[in-house]
Symmetry: C2
Subunit: 421 residues, 2 copies
């Protein structure tokens, strides 16, 4: 059976838009892995009555309601009270919860007194089970409202994620008969959503046994996901795989795919970034094990650094400028020699809002990738604000590097009978 779940994110700061809610996505993903389909997510403020009404309404039509937020130590945190109200229970201080809070606080801040405000976090609705928090002071709550399980989790992401993982091990006992559906995912980069849609046609349509969806990730790649009955999902996956050859990524992400491919070949990569300001390095180092392939990154932000450290000739900087094919080629080729790496990727562009010219408007980005086999450069034009252009420049640099590595692998593959490496 596929269960039904609802997610409620709680906090005035969410309604004011001061915080982006990453919890709902995490919990939704967690649910689909447990065999629960999320039919709605709601965001409400720190208002006891509104929370209680929402919980009761959603509990009517769900097997599990997950709440996050509003368990903090301050008086405006109302979730404990709201859940008690929804379940028609009173709040009581739990001695064990208060002990756990004191222990956590003393471990993290030895010698400091536990703030009295944290004591509010030990208030527990009568009959509720406590979900242990090993990353913070707020205990989670688990109790039934009208026969539906309601779990209240902290709003701080690291606390919430650790807690819900432990909840997962108890879930089969709480809701019996859950059946996790089969899921197949294909990740690709280098083609837009519309182009893929036209290319794939009917393969994106749902039928009785399988649902298909396309997700465009902000991290610069696209996922096509088939969910449903195991055999139908596998058939669809194979058909999609065949059609997507040119754009397939082996891992969910450009950085992940690059690190895995480089690791397999024991190739090292260096980066020299200007407009992307360290975002390529940050993406690469986010992948566990990146240290085996990523040896060194440089952010050559000032022109003086480009000429002093990477020998970009003055005639280039004064002529075509820092955002030019000549400049990124010099950065990639000299960066590679300087770092002693197999490959080097260089990025230089105009992120804005200032700095654009008629010849080189904001959004112009040059990328080069160098290896012992040579150097390839490419220009891209990006739209959006500064942060967006910086992010996209980093993604395009990783895409170019990925495509370069793929070509290198296939060329080497074809030549492998003649040339030994």
């Amino acid at each position: 059976m596929i269960g039904r779940a609802a997610i409620v994110s709680i906090g005035n700061e969410l309604l004011f838009g001061k915080t982006v809610d990453t919890n709902a996505a995490f919990l939704a993903r967690w649910c689909s892995q447990q065999g629960l389909r999320v039919h709605t997510c709601r965001t409400v403020g720190d208002n006891e009555e509104v929370i209680a009404i929402t919980v009761r309404e959603l509990a009517r039509d769900a097997d599990l309601v997950l709440l996050t937020g509003g368990l903090g130590p301050t008086v405006d945190d109302r979730t404990r009270h709201a859940v008690a109200m929804a379940a028609g229970r009173s709040l009581e201080e739990s001695a064990s919860a208060w002990r756990a809070i004191q222990q956590y606080y003393r471990r993290r801040k030895p010698g400091e007194a536990v703030p009295e405000s944290n004591r509010r976090q030990a208030l527990i609705p009568k009959g509720a089970q406590i979900l242990r928090n090993d990353r913070g002071t707020a205990p989670g709550l688990l109790m039934q409202v009208d026969g539906t399980w309601v779990a209240s989790l902290p709003g701080v992401p690291v606390e919430m994620t650790a807690m819900v993982e432990r909840l997962g091990t108890r879930l089969p006992r709480l809701i019996t008969g859950l059946d996790a559906p089969a899921v197949a995912e294909l990740h690709c980069a280098g083609a837009g959503e519309s182009a893929l849609q036209d290319h794939l046609g009917g393969l994106l349509l749902d039928d009785d046994a399988v649902q298909v969806g396309i997700t465009v990730h902000e991290r610069g790649f696209i996922t096509i996901r088939a969910v449903g009955e195991a055999q139908a999902v596998e058939r669809r996956r194979r058909a999609l795989h065949k059609m997507l050859q040119d754009w397939l990524l082996p891992e969910p992400g450009l950085a992940e795919s690059l690190v895995v491919a480089l690791r397999e070949k024991q190739w090292t990569l260096a980066t020299v970034e200007s407009c992307s300001g360290g975002r390529v390095a940050a993406a690469l180092t986010a992948v566990p094990g990146a240290s085996e392939v990523f040896c060194q990154g440089s952010i050559a932000y000032a022109n003086a650094v480009k000429s002093r450290e990477f020998a970009v000739p003055e005639v280039v900087l004064n002529g075509p400028g820092a955002v030019s094919e000549e400049c990124v080629r010099a950065l990639a080729i000299n960066g590679r020699l300087r770092c002693g790496s197999d490959l080097c990727c260089a990025v230089s562009g105009v992120a804005g809002p200032g700095g654009g010219t008629r010849r080189t408007p904001v959004g112009t980005v040059w990328i080069a990738v160098a290896s012992a086999q040579g150097c390839e450069a490419r220009q891209v034009h990006l739209a959006g604000d500064r942060e967006h252009i910086q992010q996209r420049a980093a993604q395009q640099a990783m895409l170019c590097t990925w495509q370069y590595v793929k070509t290198l692998l296939s060329t080497r593959g074809r030549r492998s009978k003649k040339t030994q490496h």
Copy 2:
């Protein structure tokens, strides 16, 4: 008058948790600036009927309902149909919308044929106004449902944000008498939420004229916000300001505060990062004008780079190791000399999941900041997964640098009568 708004995020990918919804937060912030209070946000799947029912339900109790997502070119994008259903109208192809889509496509991909699937995006409910999209192909829709304005915006953030800004200029004509509330914000870093709560006490309580909220940002700082009647907000702001002296940031963010402070003094900063992998550089370069103060960043990921480029002695790398006070001091001091900057910040730590030892467990991070006046080092212990530790290490490095700069400024201020700079 304060209007009421509701936000609906649409997309199966959101319910599967494959995408984090950043649109709702952006729109909520936009609403509060327009004098609209958001009372709820909902997330629903690409289901025509569910979207239509949600729109009708929310329209009953709101002055404006904002929808994002589901306007794409694929068959599973159902928002156009759902809004038509909610308003009891039929869909028709709009000649002007189709022209705009073709123009946009040709401008972005000269020579390529417009995919036929994009034609679906020109379907408009009868009587709806078109909201121009200058960043993508999907036109937005504006129409009334039961007398409430409903705006349908694209799900792609850059397209949505540009479109809603233009909607803002029309809003006073759509909903008359909107009164934007007074908002005061104070940003601080270096103290936790509980500690601030205990320190501020009653200053965080709401009264009839002013609501106060605390937001802990993932970017490593805390915002205290007072919203309400202008004079009461200003009184509360002054009282909070007095109590928060030690932790106040001049700008909303550590990177922003650093760049502004350094710019004022015309000081330059270099960074040498190991475990944070470029995240300090990325945060600094995200601030417009960062190029005036941030000259160069290095990601010295491999030990070989630490010794070759930053002269960390072998005896340090082999003895206390790369994650040690000795190592970060060498990185900061030599990094400063090498880059010729006024200041240099160095970070080295164990981000995990591997690499931890009993003496230096995962989460151990050393930070040093060097200037001509000397060098200060600090150790922090961070919890969480790899990505979280990397982010927090970068934040702690910026916090240390900020505190170092503040001390430098106040010392220099006190000495300014004797020493001229």
